[in-house]
Structures are given as C-alpha cells and as structure tokens.
Amino acid sequence: MSGVNQRALVLLVAGFTVWSVGFVALYALQALGCAYEWPQHRAILIGADVVSLLPLIWLAMMKPVREGEPATSLSVTALWANRAALASGVLVFLPVTFVSACI
C-alpha cells in the first residue's frame, strides 16, 4: 500500500474514533457529575463538548493529500468521513449543553 493510502486509511478511521471517545467521555462526565454533585457540572459538560469538537474540526478541514500528491478515492472518502464525524459530533453532543443532566 502506498504512503498516500496508508495516511488516508488512518484519517478514514480518525474522525469517528475521536467522535466515539468524545461520546464516551461526555457520557462519563454526565454520570460522574450527577453522582458527585459537581457544582460546575454544566460548565464541565460544555467544555468537554468544545474540547471533543476541536480535533473533529481540525480533521474536517485537513486537506486530503499533501502538496504534490494525487488525490485518491480513499483520501477523498477519508475527508468526507471526517466531515460527517464533525457534523454528527455537533448534533449528537449538543444536548449536553442544555438538557437536564441529573434528576
């Protein structure tokens, strides 16, 4: 496998891997905050939402190939997969910023 495609393959899985780590982290922070009654619970959740979106934004804006390399279908797919990961991150993580966290 060429270097271009190896890099593309890593990028292909990167977005949704970051997404799932962010999802689990938010889930854990929500539960821990309720269990230990963190005073800054909402602020922590909003912060964690922003922190998990940053690498997704970076991946979504990344050029699929380096200077001088030809775009392959794998690298284009990787770029769009990462854009999809960003979009679903924005959508799925958003509720932690406003819905009731604890009962």
Binding site: L91, P95, V99, S100, I103
Partner: protein
C-alpha cells in the same frame, strides 16, 4: 379494528395521565414518521417497477445525497427534538407533593407511605390530579417499575433509589408490570395501582394510620 388490541390495562397507548400522554404522543409521532417513510419508499419502488424510465434520470450521486442525507437528517433532528422536549417534561424536577416508597423483590412490589400511613396491601395507592413521586429501589436483583397508563419506566436497583413521577387524571385501577427480566417469576410480577380522588386518598391514609 387494527388498534383494538392496544387498549386495556397495560397499554401505553391508552394513557390516563399527562406523563403517559407525552410518551404516547412520541409513540404516535414515530409511527406516523415511519409510516410516511415506508409509503415514500413503496411509491419509489412502485415507480421503479412500473415506470422505470421516470427514475433513470436521477444519478446515483443524487440518490445517495437525497436518500442518505437530505431525507434522514431533518427527520432524525425533528424526532430527537420531539423526544427531548417531551422527555424533559417527564423528569421529577423539584419535590412532588407526595413521595411514596416502592420496593421491589423477587417477585413482588411493596409500597410505603409518608409517616408509615396507608394500607400495606401490595397496592400502590395514589391521589389523582397531582404529580406523585415514587422512590424505587430493590432488595435483590434489578427490576423495573412500569405503570404503562400513568408514565414511563424506571429501574429498581439494589442499594440505590431512583425517582419516577406519575400522575393520574381519573380515579381508577391501573396495573403495573416489572419491565426488567428478573428471574423465573418475572412474568407474574404485576402490581395494582389504585388512584383515588384527593379526599378519598386523605381518608385512606388517615384511616390506616389509626
């Protein structure tokens, strides 16, 4: 006719209070949306079968964008939004006027009232017209407290108390069912819920306390 089997004592589609009504509304939204999508796919299928020429002008990319993004994303956003708005209203925010203890064990439920009042007859007695918090826990394994006509479900977990808020509009008998498989007697783990007019409920509590 089709929905005749949906009424009855354990039907979430026959809500008897505002909280159960929210859940039933969400169920109908989901059924309506699913029916609409099914109809759309069937129409496309029919066109593809009867008039193949009509669809051949649409490119594969248009199918992917239309069917994979434009169609599902607004539907999922609306559905999630509806679930959030309706679900938010189910949460027990603040304290309800009345809090009843609900304890589960294999395979029965027992209920306790403030100050040790109320009859100990395995029936959940509650007043109508006001929210009631049920503090649910378990003596042994995980069970789930569920009165389909009055509200949602909540897990009964040993060593932990979960609170669910129910509300009944009218006096009457409702039924609950354990909704988490908890051993061989699980299917028979029902309980009776009796909603009384507020004055009758007060009399019941006063009478049993003597």
């Amino acid at each position: 006719m089709l929905l005749a089997g949906c009424s009855g004592e354990l039907s979430a589609l026959d809500p008897a209070g505002p909280r159960a009504a929210n859940l039933a509304t969400l169920w109908w939204i989901m059924l309506g949306g699913a029916a609409l999508l099914f109809a759309l796919v069937m129409v496309l299928f029919g066109i593809a079968y009867l008039r193949p020429g009509c669809l051949s002008r649409i490119t594969p990319m248009q199918w992917i964008v239309g069917g994979g993004l434009v169609l599902p994303i607004p539907i999922l956003v609306l559905l999630t939004g509806a679930a959030l708005v309706l679900g938010e209203q189910l949460l027990p925010k603040g304290d309800a006027p009345l809090r009843i203890e609900g304890q589960a064990r294999q395979w029965a439920w027992s209920f306790g009232y403030p100050g040790g009042a109320g009859p100990d007859d395995g029936t959940l007695h509650m007043p109508t017209g006001e929210p009631v918090d049920i503090a649910v826990t378990s003596e042994d394994v995980i069970h789930s407290f569920w009165v389909p006509r009055l509200g949602g479900k909540i897990d009964a977990i040993p060593g932990h108390v979960n609170v669910i808020r129910l509300e009944a509009d009218e006096p009457g008998i409702y039924w609950g069912q354990c909704a988490e498989y908890c051993g061989q007697g699980h299917d028979g783990m029902q309980f009776r819920v009796e909603a009384h007019a507020p004055e009758d409920f007060a009399a019941l509590m006063a009478g049993a306390a003597q």
